[in-house]
């Protein structure tokens, strides 16, 4: 029976689904009213009129709005740990080791139309841990959450957070941690890459030597330096938490010195001041719509930040950094129309194709295009309206969230819970009766 259900489940994902009479917002192409066909997890066809394959499941959209699944470039959901805060360089740790596929935040993010999220290490370290890009395949195990084939990435952090442990009032020498200043943050990053270069050279030397001498001893593998060598070699992307213009320029200079690129600046609230320099480096910027002033370095912010950077040629996305905001990123995007006058397409790009490009998965996701992954969300209203509520969300052509079904399932869940509570109480009651009385 179990096997049969499993086959059935596979069949469901391989099934052909046609969403018809939808207002389709492909983001990379003009909007139209028509249909989208999903087959084997991919978008097979789209247009005002499509061929409906035999046996396809029809979803009648009744004029609702279909857009590509939202992508969050900066999230901390779905992980059993976020910060390895003990050291200033924690590149040996990785979110991929601690993904928690049962975090309810995944389901709630789906309910906001999100289909992919970059789960970042925290910002306690100048060089933090490895990030994990996931698809919100709610119900699958940790390994199946991982966005297969994505280029790996790592978190860096500048400013107040990484230097906080260097000068905590009342701390003793044993729990203070270098650095205590922004200068120190730069030094930590440079020192780490100096070490990485030496490590890289050691391996190069070994490879040359081992070509002649098979018995040569390889260098000790160092899990802290390996990811940094990958950064130097362009095999791992850097997402850098940053706020102030001066520290942003500092990091771009450091990257230039060591010959690697900063893939994205995260938060980047003062990005509007140095947008030209960011664009020149080729870094992307992933910011908030209007969230600031929660600490000193986050004061000099404007709601036009995203729009200004877009207009200066920076690849911009809006992120949540929050299990709450992740549920309404579409509203965040809409704010850039009010502040900065972006077009609808530009605004939607900030939460779809742009983060896809920043995460180097734009060949797979971020827009509705034939051949791309069938990651789609159906909103009841235009997604840039404050009244828009996600109704159905598909990831790889599998329906992972269905508002109607969610409501239908609630009474059964309530009932099950009541039963379990009852059984639990009964057991405790029995135990009380059978426990012998104290005798001494």
């Amino acid at each position: 029976m179990k096997n049969f259900l499993w086959i059935l489940a596979c069949a469901a994902s391989a099934q052909t689904i046609v969403i018809q009479n939808a207002n389709v917002l492909p983001v990379t192409a003009p909007s139209f009213k028509g249909s989208v066909v999903m087959e084997n997890g991919k978008i097979k066809e789209m247009g005002e009129k499509v061929m409906v394959p035999a046996g396809a499941t029809i979803v009648e959209a009744n004029g609702q709005y279909l857009m590509p699944g939202i992508i969050d470039c900066h999230s901390h959901i779905a992980a059993a740990a976020i910060n390895e805060g003990s050291v200033s360089v924690s590149s040996m740790v990785g979110i991929e080791d601690v993904l928690n596929p049962k975090d309810i935040s995944i389901y709630r993010a789906l309910a906001g139309g999100v289909t992919s999220a970059n789960v970042l290490h925290g910002s306690a370290n100048a060089i933090g841990g490895k990030c994990s890009l996931i698809k919100l395949r709610w119900g699958e195990n940790a390994e199946k959450l991982k966005f297969e084939g994505a280029i790996p990435s790592i978190k860096f952090a500048l400013g107040e957070n990484p230097k906080r442990r260097g000068n905590t009032p009342g701390a003793t020498a044993s729990n203070l941690r270098y650095p205590a200043t922004r200068m120190g943050v730069e030094d930590v990053i440079r020192q780490a890459f100096n070490d990485a270069r030496i490590y890289q050279a050691k391996w190069k030397e070994y490879r040359e030597k081992s070509a002649q001498d098979a018995s040569a001893l390889p260098p000790r593998r160092d899990l802290k330096l390996e990811p940094l060598v990958e950064v130097l070699e362009g095999k791992r992307h850097v997402h850098a938490h940053s706020y102030r213009a001066d520290e942003i320029l500092m990091l771009l200079r450091v990257a230039d010195d060591y010959g690697f690129k900063i893939r994205t600046l995260q938060h980047v609230l003062e990005g509007y001041k140095v947008a030209k320099e960011i664009a020149a480096h080729g870094a992307g910027a992933s910011t908030f719509s209007d969230w600031w002033a929660y600490k000193i370095e986050a004061y000099d912010a404007i709601p036009h930040n995203a729009a200004v950077m877009v207009k200066k040629g920076v690849l911009v996305s809006l992120n949540s950094d929050s299990a709450d905001v992740i549920r309404r990123l579409n509203t965040e995007a809409a704010k850039t129309i009010k502040y900065g006058g972006l077009t609808e397409i530009e605004a939607l790009s900030l939460i779809t194709i742009n983060p896809a490009k920043q995460l180097a998965v734009d060949q797979r996701v971020g827009s509705i295009e034939v051949g791309k992954d069938a990651d789609l969300v159906l909103f009841n209203k235009h997604p840039l309206s404050s009244y828009a509520v996600a109704q159905k969300v598909w990831v790889d052509g599998t329906l992972r969230f269905d508002r109607e079904k969610d409501h239908e399932e609630r009474p059964a869940k309530e009932l099950r819970k009541k039963q379990l509570l009852e059984q639990s109480k009964q057991r405790e009651g029995q135990k009380k009766n059978s426990t012998p009385r104290r005798t001494s």
């Binding site: 740990a81 390895e84 990785g94 899990l223």
Partner: protein, 424 residues
């Protein structure tokens, strides 16, 4: 009259009888575990080993004879993960200002004492030894548990004149804990602990290669630095990884494959939902006998999650689900003082009594690779037996005799509340 009570207790705790070289238990039911039960047979024990198990063995004339009519002989129970025999760490706090500097990374080998051997820590008078023995346990796999790589476990018999005599196997494996402990120094997170364990085993591979190379021709080679943390791991035949929830079990299955070392998982509460994955990877599971319970101190009206309630309901079904899926599993006490009593929940959830006895005896021995020594009533094995009147898994088992290394021990008489009250 009150004065009598301490006296009674004192007698109970030391009531072991003198050993004679030959012991015969005749006309008893014998639950061999390794084979079918013998309805009426004789077990002969000589010099601490089982000499014969059969329906019609001749009782040697020099035997101490136990008339087994109406009694059942089981192999002695084995606690699959225990701290019996290891005195609890002294609670004297470290003098202030004298604490070691916080670890800066894996190279400082934080929270590691892999070189500690349980076999070197055993105290024959440690309290938990007799607590377990009185319930029918004759052996325990006991581990140092303080740290990420806490030390090498040992399989011990739960009686003996000296610690040395109690050791059945001094290499049971390395106990790994991933829980965060301490407030400063690497690691402070689950992913830090995982990264640390990964780095240590990479270092171990490198260390062994470097040592072998150096041993083959030291002249002209750089000397590999001695590393006690790695030395402690070299002769660990397996690692024990913690995994309670289904997510943790899947995580540790994945990690075990990556480390590519013989692994045993411990915890296993939610193994009921991932049994097929465990079966596929052939990873044995030590199942805790501490079933999840609601907290006693919580607000009784507090809302609990459906997930927590499901776990509480289904955890006891783990053993039967694992048995059905052919996943090797065994029970461990997990700090519970009367673990055998808790087996009943697993029986209620579908585990057969035979499977339960196996998970308390032979399966433990198999998981730790000592099934040729203990775990069943078989010729040539160490004479660890428990003799009961009636079922060992009954709510109040009537244990008549415990045999460890051929020596006889009698459990204290059950303290009945009525009697204790009468003496007051």
């Amino acid at each position: 009259m009150r004065k009598l009570i301490p006296l009674v207790l004192f007698c109970a705790s030391v009531s072991w009888t003198q050993s004679s070289p030959v012991l015969a238990i005749r006309n008893a039911k014998i639950v061999t575990v390794s084979g079918p039960a013998i309805e009426r047979g004789t077990v002969i024990v000589r010099n601490g080993l089982i000499q014969e198990v059969s329906e019609n063995a001749t009782v040697p004339p020099d035997s101490w004879v136990v008339e087994g009519e109406g009694l059942t002989v089981y192999p002695g129970l084995i606690d699959a993960l225990s701290s019996a025999g290891i005195p609890p760490p002294s609670s004297t706090p470290r003098p202030p200002g004298n604490s070691p500097p916080p670890a800066r990374g894996p190279e400082d080998r934080p929270q590691t004492s892999s070189w500690i051997r349980a076999a070197d820590q055993i105290r024959p008078d440690e309290r938990k030894i007799s607590v377990l023995r009185n319930q029918g346990y004759t052996s325990a796999v006991t581990f140092p548990t303080d740290g990420i790589l806490a030390g090498q476990g040992a399989i011990i018999n739960l009686a003996g004149d000296s610690a040395g005599q109690m050791i059945v196997e001094q290499r049971a494996g390395q106990y790994v804990s991933l829980a965060r402990s301490g407030f400063s120094g690497f690691p402070t997170s689950l992913m830090g602990s995982i990264a640390y364990v990964r780095q240590v085993f990479l270092d171990l591979d490198h260390y062994q290669r470097a040592k072998n190379l150096y041993a083959s021709h030291p002249q002209g080679l750089e000397r590999p630095a001695y590393d006690r943390a790695l030395e402690g791991l070299i002769d660990s035949p397996r690692i024990l990884l913690p995994a309670v929830s289904d997510v943790e079990i899947q995580r540790m299955i994945h990690f075990s494959k990556e480390l590519n070392r013989p692994t045993v998982l411990y915890g296993g509460m939610e193994a009921y939902s991932v049994a097929s994955e465990l079966a596929k990877e052939k990873i044995p599971v030590l199942v805790t006998l501490k079933w999840p319970e609601g907290s006693r101190d919580e607000d009784p009206d507090a809302v609990e999650s459906l997930r927590a309630l499901e776990q509480r309901e289904k955890a006891p079904s783990t053993p039967s689900v694992l048995a059905q899926a052919n996943v090797p599993f065994a029970f461990y006490s997990d700090g519970v003082e009367a673990p055998v009593k808790n087996v009943k929940r697993a029986l209620d959830a579908g585990l057969s009594p035979d499977q339960a006895i196996r998970a308390l005896t032979l399966s433990v021995a198999e998981i730790y690779g000592v099934a040729d020594r203990i775990g069943s009533v078989e010729k040539g094995k160490i004479a660890n037996l428990v003799v009961t009147k009636g079922d060992l898994l009954a709510e109040k088992p009537d244990i008549r005799l415990i045999v460890i290394d051929g020596a006889r021990y009698e459990p204290p008489p059950p303290t009945s509340p009525a009697k204790a009250e009468a003496t007051q």
